[in-house]
């Protein structure tokens, strides 16, 4: 479902061109659990933004379900993000001063295909899937612990029932114990609901939770192997 062909992303900084991604090619099939691993600055986040239709490559082709994302308009890219992609960020990015439920429902207001009446049920399903206790649903997001916040963020990523979950350093801000809970959540989502999960990390131990590891360095793939 994901097919990258010679993706290059370059930035011009101070008149010189630096390529963050260099001719990156790979494929990820439906239902895979892939970790993209690499040191800081290797271009992992840049790649994730491209995979999530938030950004366009400078050159190369990125096909998502057969559609060349490069050719899509802004609106069409937004529609893809809304319907097919669920982002989980390192820094959670929850709306402060808003309840857990409001945060989880947020993506639905930008998805015209979901009737308003079904929102609550969908939110409950997503929150149950990440294992957040019912009594916390009406808490404000800034009253939660880091692990709880990240699970709310994952529930938010799930609400549109996306085929792909993109998680950028989802455990980077968590201690190893809460990190393990979050990684368990991804594992379950992959195993039980068949979501394609792409996990970005610089941590080998985190990457080992996945079924396949793509390693990049300086914008190039240096290894791609199952584990």
């Amino acid at each position: 479902m994901i097919k990258c062909e010679k993706i290059t992303k370059s930035y011009f900084v101070g008149g010189t061109r630096t390529s963050v991604l260099k001719d990156v090619s790979f494929e990820i099939g439906e239902g895979e659990y892939v970790a993209i691993m690499g040191p800081s600055g290797s271009g992992k986040s840049t790649l994730m933004h491209i995979l999530g239709a938030l950004d366009r490559p400078t050159s190369g082709q990125y096909f998502l379900d057969g559609k060349n994302v490069f050719d899509l308009s802004e609106e069409e890219m937004a529609a893809i993000r809304s319907e097919k992609i669920g982002f989980v960020f390192q820094s959670f990015n929850l709306l402060p001063r808003s309840t857990v439920l409001r945060n989880v429902i947020l993506p639905l207001i930008y998805n015209g295909h979901v009737p308003k009446a079904t929102r609550r049920a969908k939110a409950e399903k997503a929150l149950n899937a990440v294992g957040l206790e019912t009594d916390q649903w009406t808490h404000l997001s800034n009253q939660l612990s880091g692990g709880q916040m990240q699970r709310v963020a994952i529930a938010r990523a799930l609400i549109n029932d996306p085929s792909i979950i993109l998680a950028d350093e989802p455990t980077g801000n968590l201690d190893s114990k809460t990190g393990a809970v979050v990684l368990d959540t991804f594992q379950k989502l992959n195993k039980e609901s068949g979501h394609t999960v792409i996990l970005i990390t610089h941590d080998k131990h985190v990457a080992e939770h996945a079924k396949r590891i793509i390693e990049i360095k300086d914008g190039e793939i240096i290894s791609d192997s199952p584990c």
Binding site: L54, E75, L95
Partner: protein
């Protein structure tokens, strides 16, 4: 994004920073309230002027003695100082000019009036029977002056209500009582209804007596002070004015119109001159108020730009969750329009209150018109759109990745 979501997001966003929203709304409230209040003052002034002139009678031409100035209709010399108009002139106008409904010659003078020790100085008007009709004067008490009383030079008087209050008790019935005008004893036969207004042109502070009586006993000659002519329709004012002019020039044997020994005041001309002054005043006041509205609008823009900057990360997040640029810009636009709309509504209420207060406390009349209210709502909403547009575009154009990285 559906409307109800947009609405909820807007309410949420405004209430998440209540004091800032309130201050921004205050800016608009002040702007709109001053527009409403100042326009109401302008309109009130304009209506006051129109009412005053119309209370003098409708479709009125007034012929006054005295020389005419080269450049306008201003009479040289005080009222009644020249004695160039006569009753025969009035008669000639009545018979010789078409499209008039009534002609009322009057004699006027200021005299000392006394009643049982009370003294006052007031205008004495010698009138004939058509005068009250032309001036729309109605009786509060007693009877009008009759033809018989004019012919017989009867010493009878009709009082204006203010004069009655001055000479007798307030609201008293003086009919049948005697008063002394210039030492002559007159019998009060009636009191006119109050018409409002004070000072020059007020019909409340004077005494009416029969025309012939006034000529004989009060001023002592046969001249008259002016001739009021009521024209049958407003369109014919200038036409009738020209006829009167020609007739009187002929009668007074004056060849050159600039040398005329009388002048004709056209009520319609006066009305339009005065209302154009009042309209300019309204416009000026509205412009001043408009400036404060503009300042309020800049306040909106300032607040929205701050909000956009503060919420940059949130904008990036919303985009990553599937929001389009249009979703983002409509959210910010909805917020600024809501702020100005709320400000507009409160501003109308405050402005309304202020204008009522000005009307109550000051000597100014205020009039709130529907158009000034609609204009304010429209303008305030427009301010929201105009000053919210740039911040909302700025929010919409943010690159989601840059926005997410923003610290």
């Amino acid at each position: 994004m559906i409307f109800s979501d947009l609405f909820e997001e807007t309410i949420f966003s405004m209430s998440s920073n209540k004091s800032r929203s309130a201050l921004t709304i205050l800016g608009i409230v002040i702007g709109i309230a001053s527009v409403i209040a100042l326009i109401s003052v302008g309109q009130g002034t304009s209506k006051g002027i129109t009412d005053r002139i119309e209370s003098l009678g409708t479709n009125l031409l007034v012929v006054m003695p005295g020389q005419q100035r080269q450049a306008g209709n201003i009479v040289r010399g005080g009222m009644g100082s020249s004695q160039t108009l006569t009753l025969e002139d009035a008669e000639a106008i009545k018979t010789g000019v078409t499209d008039i409904t009534a002609v009322a010659p009057t004699v006027s003078a200021r005299k000392q009036v006394a009643v049982k020790g009370k003294n006052t100085n007031t205008s004495i008007y010698g009138i004939d029977t058509s005068y009250f009709g032309i001036k729309n004067i109605e009786m509060e008490l007693g009877a009008q002056i009759t033809d018989q009383q004019i012919k017989s030079r009867a010493k009878v008087a009709v009082l204006g209500p203010t004069t009655r209050d001055d000479l007798f008790d307030v609201e008293a019935n003086p009919v049948g009582q005697k008063i002394k005008i210039s030492g002559q004893e007159f019998t009060v036969i009636g009191v006119t209804k109050a018409k409002g207004g004070t000072g020059m042109g007020s019909s409340d502070d004077l005494i009416y007596i029969p025309l012939a009586t006034a000529q004989q006993y009060i001023i002592g000659n046969q001249s008259i002070s002016n001739i009021n002519i009521q024209v049958s329709s407003a369109d014919l004012m200038s036409f009738v004015q020209a006829q009167v002019q020609e007739l009187l020039l002929q009668r007074h044997r004056i060849a050159d119109a600039t040398q005329a020994d009388f002048s004709i005041m056209n009520q319609a001309d006066m009305l339009s001159a005065m209302s154009s002054v009042a309209d300019t005043l309204t416009l000026l006041l509205a412009a001043i108020a408009g400036i404060s509205l503009l300042v309020g609008g800049i306040g909106i823009m300032n607040m929205m730009l701050t909000t956009v900057t503060e919420r940059t990360r949130e904008i990036g997040l919303r985009k990553s969750l599937g929001a389009t640029s249009n979703d983002i810009s409509s959210q910010f636009l909805a917020e600024s329009v809501s702020l100005t709309f709320i400000g507009g509504i409160i501003g109308i209420i405050v402005g309304w209150g202020a204008s009522l207060l000005i009307g109550k406390l000051g000597s100014l009349t205020t009039v709130i018109t529907l158009w000034s209210v609609l204009l304010s709502v429209g303008v305030s909403t427009l301010v929201g759109v105009v000053f919210g547009y740039y911040p909302s575009r700025r929010a919409a154009k943010l690159d989601p990745i840059d926005a997410l990285r923003y610290q």
